[in-house]
Amino acid sequence: MAIRERLSGNEAVAIAIRQINPDVMPAFPITPSTEIPQYFSSYIANGKADTVFIPVESEHSAMSAAIGASAAGARTLTATSSCGMALMWELLYVAASNRLPIAMALVNRALSGPININCDHSDVMGARDAGWLQIFAENNQEAYDNFVQAYRIAEHKDVRLPIMICQDGFITSHAVENIELIEDDKVKAFVGEYEPEDYLLKDGEPFHVGPYAVSNYYMEAKRAQAEGMKNAKQVILEVAKEFEAMTGRSYGFFEEYRLEDADYAIVIMGSAAGTAKDAVDKLRAQGIKAGLLKVRVFRPFPAEEIAKALTHVKVLACMDRTESFNNECGPLGAEVKSALFDAGCAPKVINYVYGLGGRDVTVESITSVYEELIKIDETKETGAKYRYLSVRED
């Protein structure tokens, strides 16, 4: 029987980690992810997990040690946010290129400055080209479920890439919600043992990691990484299927909410999708064909599938919880537009920047986005294609 609980997103993820009981966890505190290593340390201190926890002196060392541990053959993870992940930057690429299936519980928070501890996606979006799998959650349940699925995807022999399991700082990390936990033994059986092929501590077989590769080899290494990312699509779906068989909760690359016949739609990621669903319901009640697409998997980016789901939409808004400073759109917008272009379908697309540094996202503010989409359809005047939501302009 599944276990009904009321938990914050951080505690839920910490419980998933306890259930998996990985080999090594180096971590460093930063709001809003700090609670994850705190909870987990208390599990270790009370004999509920026996992971080797490394209380490193920085996030840079957290990722460096994670790379060492993972290369040595250990199932490894860390948790961080914002500036912490930014400090890991160089090593994110090293982890991915060495094909190390490290898991990161990333609690999304704005990057400085001004220094701000609240949610946006500037941390994770900046790392979108680092070669990590990136999976987003709308609520605590999804954050937990995604973490339970993480190693199955990352460690799969056709993938072997590190994975970020993202949730929104404070909004899900600290808010307590109802949640259904899976029994410990079921999680253990689902995740299974980590059996890497080659690793530093393999008895009798010395192994070498991190060579200098000149121009006649470097590109093949990148090509091989890209292949892993490509293969990940299939694996993500297979793992989700098994997960559904165990829990009844179904996951894909994205969720379509009342999208099937929608004229007006938004593409959104993370916790704001929950608020947006309320807005959709309200508009539907008024007879307006509103819908939304919530991206769960951002890396690999399911471009074809997203385009297919959006072909019939008349006017679309891409909601980015980060700036990209290209004066055009955020990263989500850019990827969605590129997907639509390749699919040869062209709804009008407006790009919104919203929720930076924890700026409130409300049913009203999301409704105003749909209203603007409707206006564009009615007047046939697109106006500014790049807009800020809920911002003081003066």
């Binding site: 490394i54 460096s64 060492g68 053959g73 250990a74 070498h208 590769a213 000149v214």
Partner: protein
């Protein structure tokens, strides 16, 4: 401790020949002699910071390392090695690793004194069972001889070039062994290539087998950066020790020991003169610089004697 030179030197090499380090490179000599401190039956995982050593010994698809090896980045050999060591603890406890492993990290002075300093400090403070070895060639050699905080005062480097307004590096060098010793690790020591490698061998073995975090600072001359006649490397090391520029000492469980005291301390000029990077110090009008250099060497030597006499 008995030291049988012939026996030690006849051990199987753990760093294979054929790597691309320069002829006469001190870094390579340091590595080979540290690895001789490993007992033949034990395995090791080597961590290496970016630098001359890494790029020249592990160029895909070749490796000169017979033991397991990981290079991560320039500034994080300490943390990387601590991750490997933690993995060993976890996997050993869970019955997934049977053999015995030792953990040795190598970094140049740039990767150790400067950019990798925090990572090293963290690893030492946490007390991982590992040895961090700095092959100190006194500059960033891989990128073309830029100064580091290990570069001696007045050295002519590409970022402290000697010119009409410059006499080379303005600052004294940092004493990293003092700083590591202040972490209260079980073992920190300084050595170089003298006495047929006896001092170095004893320290390497001790550092590797003493439980907990250990640090070894090895002066590893670089013929290109220091501009001495390449075959003179052993003579250069000897002069560094005999002038008390590079004292041989160790700090074991908090106790400072001077491992060698020259019978007659030689003037610092003897160490500086054979090296092109100090050529300008011997020009007319620069006598004062030599005096200053000598004063600093003397001050630090006295300080060391005091600590060792306590």
């Amino acid at each position: 401790m008995a030291y049988n030179f012939k026996e030690i030197m006849n051990q199987e090499e753990r760093l294979a020949p054929g790597h691309r380090m320069c002829a006469g490179c001190g870094g390579t000599i340091a590595v080979r002699n540290v690895l001789r401190g490993l007992h033949p039956e034990d395995h090791a995982v080597i961590t290496c910071a970016t630098g001359c050593l890494e790029v020249s010994s592990f160029t895909y698809p070749y490796t000169a390392w017979k033991d397991s090896f990981i290079h991560n980045a320039f500034e994080n050999a300490g943390a990387t090695c601590s991750g490997v060591e933690a993995a060993y603890e976890a996997l050993k406890r869970r019955g997934k690793v049977k053999d015995n492993y030792k953990f040795i990290a190598f970094g140049g002075d740039g990767g150790t004194y400067d950019i990798g300093f925090q990572s090293l400090s963290g690893a030492m403070e946490r007390g991982h069972d590992m040895v961090y070895v700095c092959y100190d060639n006194g500059a960033y050699m891989n990128t073309g001889i830029q100064r580091s905080s290990a570069t001696p005062m007045y050295a002519d480097t590409t970022t402290t070039p000697v010119g009409s307004e410059s006499v080379g590096k303005p600052q004294y060098r940092k004493d990293i062994v003092d700083i590591i010793a202040a972490h209260n690790v079980p073992y920190a020591a300084q050595t170089t290539f003298v006495q047929n490698f006896k001092d170095m061998h004893i320290k390497a073995e001790k550092a590797i087998y003493k439980p907990g975090a250990a640090y070894l600072n090895v002066m590893a001359p670089c013929p290109r950066g220091w501009r001495y006649d390449t075959p003179q490397i052993i003579e250069i090391c000897k002069l560094a020790v005999e002038t008390c520029y590079w004292p041989l000492f160790e700090v074991e469980d908090g106790k400072w020991t001077l491992n060698y005291e020259p019978k007659k301390k030689l003037p610092i000029e003897d160490f500086l003169r054979p090296q092109g990077r100090f050529k300008h110090l011997f020009k007319k009008g620069n006598e004062e610089l030599l005096v200053k250099f000598q004063e600093e060497v003397d001050r630090r030597w006295e300080d060391l004697l005091y600590r060792c006499a306590r």
